[in-house]
Amino acid sequence: MTTLLPTGFEALAPFADRWAIDGSITRAARRGAADPAVRTAFFAAAAPLLDAALAHLDRYPLDALPPAEQRLMDMMLTLAHVSLTEEILGDQEPAHARQRQHMRITRTPAGA
């Protein structure tokens, strides 16, 4: 567990398996398919660490992140999607998730 996430971000360890996701399409899909309580718990743990996480990650070359940093990066990229449900949509999420599926992501700089 010591190398799972960088020092200072241990609190996110219980969420890494589910929320460290490679690819924008999969991140968007996981957000929509998630159990609401599980998604809310991830958001509550990750959102306060967003600034610190990006400040830490900005010290590394993006194309050569160590595994722990890559995991943290992928979690923050998933947070970008999840935060829209948690901060903006609230109880509109179920209907919204169905509508979002029609917006097929085809390309992102992070890798679709």
Binding site: L54, M76, S83, L84, G90, T108, A110
Partner: protein
């Protein structure tokens, strides 16, 4: 007037009255016969936004693009000389489509059927046993399609343009030069299919009347007490093209992650020099293209007709430079996801509108004064369809005399 409060000065309804006030016929929004006229009158006679120069970085880079409304497949290639050209994706031997991949890089384009090979400039370079044909290679180049570029955006014209692209765009050409897309080197993209007419779909994105009902939460930054419907600050018109300046709530209440995310995007835009004078300007270029000047969400949106009642939307967010750090990658992922959320909310209600129109129950639909951009699009389409109809009527062949036939 009409409930607007001090603090918001939009366009007065009177200043838009020149566009007309009459009800709009409903048939153009669902009738297949009308759409068949639009194929020629609108889509074959306009510059169509089809791609971006960043998709063709090197000599031999190509993209294939389909324009279903005109039954056309295009091959757009950067040549060895650096010039970007568009061709019909058809081998001049017997019509076989040359390229199946959506994009890539090649030195030559070889037909899978009999191996005719074309250069990046469209010239026929080699063809097996060519001596047995009765033609010259010089007459077998790929059919060329007019192409022009403005603000990094590639446009094609499938007919004979009566104006160059910049001339056609008028003052909007200079605006496009100042939009973030003009400096873009990469982009995010998402695509949707919709069971709705292209104009009905497009209109949704050029009126703000629906914002408070369809986007009650995601649209909060663009409505407010001063301007409950989020009407534009300004609208403008040039030929068939139009623009609006989007109103922003002066007292936004962003959520914490939202504020951090857009804050980062804004800082990158300042550092990159993409935060130009047009950050609240929105261009609607006839017939089917939108682009926003916002550096934080620099998106474009093209609505391609498939048939009278089906369309495809292509939405892109254009970025300058590759992801060079975690913060930039994060800010771009957030911008894409949040724009996609808002666009996702519109699709259901547009399709519901189409189902209602398809019933034929309505002879007319209505646009209010602040839906002026929708009315302006209809006027531009209608004018072209009527002119095309008149041409076809007057072009009915007159009887040819025997002497003329013999000559």
């Amino acid at each position: 007037m009409h409930g607007e409060r001090p603090g918001f000065q939009g366009m007065s309804d009177d200043s838009l009255a020149w566009l007309g006030t009459a009800p709009i016929p409903a048939a153009p929004y669902h009738d297949p016969a009308w759409f068949d006229l639009e194929r020629e009158a609108v889509f074959r006679r306009a510059w169509l936004q089809i791609g971006h120069v960043c998709e063709l970085p090197d000599s031999g880079s190509f993209i294939r693009r389909e324009i279903e409304a005109l039954n056309v497949s295009l091959l757009i290639v950067r040549g060895r000389d650096g010039e970007i050209r568009a061709f019909h994706n058809v081998c001049t031997h017997r019509g076989t489509q040359l390229v199946e991949e959506e994009s890539g890089r090649r030195g030559t384009f070889s037909c899978p059927y009999h191996r005719w090979s074309f250069g990046t400039d469209g010239a026929l370079l080699a063809a097996p046993d060519f001596d047995r044909f009765f033609i010259d290679k010089a007459d077998c180049a790929l059919p060329r399609v007019a192409l022009d570029i403005c603000g990094g955006l590639i446009f094609v014209h499938l007919g004979t343009p009566d104006k160059g692209l910049r001339d056609d765009l008028g003052p909007y050409a200079t605006m496009l030069d100042g939009f973030p897309a003009a400096q873009a080197t990469t982009f995010s993209e998402y695509v949707y299919e919709i069971d709705a007419n292209w104009k009905l779909t497009y209109d949704n994105f050029q009126e703000n009347y629906h914002l408070r009902f369809i986007h009650p939460r995601s649209g909060a930054p663009v409505v407010g007490e001063d301007n409950p419907f989020g009407y534009p600050v300004k609208m403008g018109f040039h030929g068939p093209h139009r623009t609006q300046t989007i109103w922003t709530n002066p007292a936004p209440a962003p959520k914490p992650v939202q504020a951090q995310s857009f804050g980062r995007a804004a800082r990158f835009a300042m550092a990159d020099g993409t935060a130009g004078p047009h950050s609240r300007d929105y261009l609607a270029l006839f017939p089917n293209f939108f682009i926003l000047g916002s550096p934080a969400q620099p998106f474009s949106h093209t609505v391609w007709p498939i048939d009278a009642r089906r369309s495809r939307g292509v939405i892109r967010l254009y970025w300058k430079g590759e992801d060079d750090c975690a913060s930039r990658r994060y800010a771009r992922e957030y911008a894409m996801a949040s724009a996609r959320d808002i666009h996702a909310e519109d699709r259901d209600v547009i399709e519901a509108g189409q189902r209602g129109l398809n019933s034929g129950a309505l002879k007319h639909i209505h646009f209010q004064a602040q839906e002026a951009l929708c009315r302006h699009l209809f006027n531009a389409v209608d004018e072209r369809v009527q002119a095309y109809r008149a041409e076809r009527t007057s072009a009915t062949p007159r009887p040819v005399s025997r002497a003329e036939a013999m000559a």
